[in-house]
Amino acid sequence: MQQRWAAYGGRSLFVLLSAVPIVAGVSYALLYSLGLTGVMAEGFTLVHWQEILGDAAFWRTLGFSLYVAAVSIGVALGLSLALVLRSPQAYTKGMLSFFIYLPLSIPAIVMAFFIFQLLGKGGWLSRVSHQLGLISALEQFPDWVNDNYGIGIIVAHVIMATPFFTIFFANLYQNERLGEYLHLAATLGANGRQRIFRVAVPVLLRRGLATVFLYFMFVMGSYEIPLLVGSQSVQMVSVRTIQRLQRYNLGDIPEAYAISVAYTVLVAVLLGGLLWYNRKQMGRA
């Protein structure tokens, strides 16, 4: 009996703390975007929705956010899997098991500043290249920050995500007793390549899917990093939203809310797709 009450209590608390604020928030944003709430609201209108949906820059913004998240997470996963699979024990025991945690303590705003000072045309790498005689003037240093491909943004996210995934996969490796599986696979005649790509990587990725997806969403919604090291021509979604929310024209605020609702729908669709895929995989297994 007590057990059942505890279960109800736990789940109610869960709904209260995770779903309720967001449902309230999205409703508020939706009302705002339709001109139904806000100090300057003038009644129901679809103008703001028409404005953003008909704006090519808005779609580019969504596309660019997806691209940055996909590339950053892709590279970080590749690096961290390579690190962990090369030496699975290194990150759970010994010196590295402490040091690998250090990068987690660097927040996004500091990472943005660091990348700007490191990779900019007048940054530290450019200075070192100059001293080494690789370049003779700072103009020759490549455009790695504020560029249209988002190189600076991606590098920053990769630096932040790689240690995180390395810790994550190293622990998962142990927890899932992957070493034993791989040993088994070897005795069954699997070669090195097969062991990595047929056994280790799929197991780690499938078990870690929830966390990987969560991180993907963090990157897509990131603000400080694209703000400082991104380009103004192709913006990420948070940067554009804030610009609408806080820059000069109070009449633009409902548009900021419309962008957020649209973004929420996009992420919800991605999430739905992921859960569907996950269930299909589970069904197969």
Binding site: Q2, A6, A7, G10, R11, L13, F14, L17, S18, A19, I22, G25, Y28, A29, R86, S87, A90, G94, M95, L96, S97, F99, Y101, L102, P103, L104, S105, I106, P107, I109, V110, F113, F114, Q117, V128, Q131, L138, N171, Q174, N175, R207, A210, T211, F213, L214, M217, F218, G221, S238, T241, I242, L245, S260, Y263, T264, A268, L271, L275, N278, R279
Partner: protein, 255 residues
């Protein structure tokens, strides 16, 4: 892994910290000098001496982040167990992603309205609750892969032997989960520690955490000051990590 690779990796990890520390004591750094031309502690003096009550802010931040991390870790550990053993586990878990499908800045703006209506605005409690909204679901997702059949049968065993739920937690679940709990705690501590947008909007600056105090300096034109502010933000969590390494890192950590 060879000793050399290990040292190289550690060097790579330490580089940003060294770089920021170096800039924080610099002055005059014309291109193409690799190091600043002058060294001075004047920025440190300016910030530490000129900001009355910075020490109080550190205490407040530690108190807030410890409370948020403790509450969130504890609650999410307990709640995630009930979610994990529910038949519709996946559907429940998808709720945990909700706070992250909304652009954080807009979430803050929306929540600000509700917190004013609820009268929680400008208070320590309000900021604490707002931070729980973003840390608690993270914890639930974090622990979701922890629960499995093996644990469940261990729990059953405790019950069969006449133990209470409390004993099951105290004697079995918490000891097994110790590493995971500590990792989660550290992650949530960091999320809370670096939280700026919500803390500023909901707290209206009346909960002056260290992050609020020095955050704007990171956007300063003065790179030496920006680097110093970065150090101030980073060093306390690093110190926490250092203090806890005996507890956390000798353990096998289960994600």
């Amino acid at each position: 892994m060879s000793r050399f690779t290990k040292i190289a990796l550690i060097g790579l990890i330490l580089f940003p910290f060294a770089f920021l520390l170096m800039l924080s004591v610099g002055r005059q750094w014309p291109y193409p000098a690799v190091f600043p031309e002058q060294w001075a502690l004047s920025n440190w003096q300016l910030v530490l001496g000129g900001s009355e009550g910075l020490g109080n802010s550190v205490l407040l931040s530690v108190l807030l982040s410890l409370s948020v991390a403790t509450l969130s870790t504890g609650l999410s550990f307990w709640v995630s167990r009930h979610i994990a053993y529910h038949p519709k586990r996946e559907a429940w878990l998808s709720l945990a992603y909700f706070p992250y499908v909304f652009a954080p800045v807009i979430l803050a703006a929306c929540l600000q309205f509700f917190f004013i209506v609820a009268g929680l605005y400008g208070t320590f409690g309000g900021v604490l609750l707002a931070q729980l909204f973003i840390t608690f679901p993270y914890g639930v997702i974090f622990f979701s892969s922890f629960w499995n059949e093996r644990l469940r049968s261990m729990e059953e065993l405790v019950k069969t032997l006449g133990g209470s739920t409390l004993q099951a937690y105290a004697k079995v679940l918490v000891p097994v989960a110790k590493g995971a709990l500590m990792t989660c705690f550290f992650q949530l501590f960091l999320i809370s520690w670096f939280e700026y947008g919500l803390t500023n909007l909901i707290g209206v600056g009346k909960v002056p955490t260290l992050t609020l105090r020095v955050f704007q300096y990171v956007n300063e034109a003065n790179i030496f000051l920006a680097a110093l502010a970065s150090c101030l933000l980073i060093l306390p969590p690093v110190a926490l990590l250092w203090l806890n390494r005996a507890v956390v890192f000798r353990e096998r950590i289960v994600p």
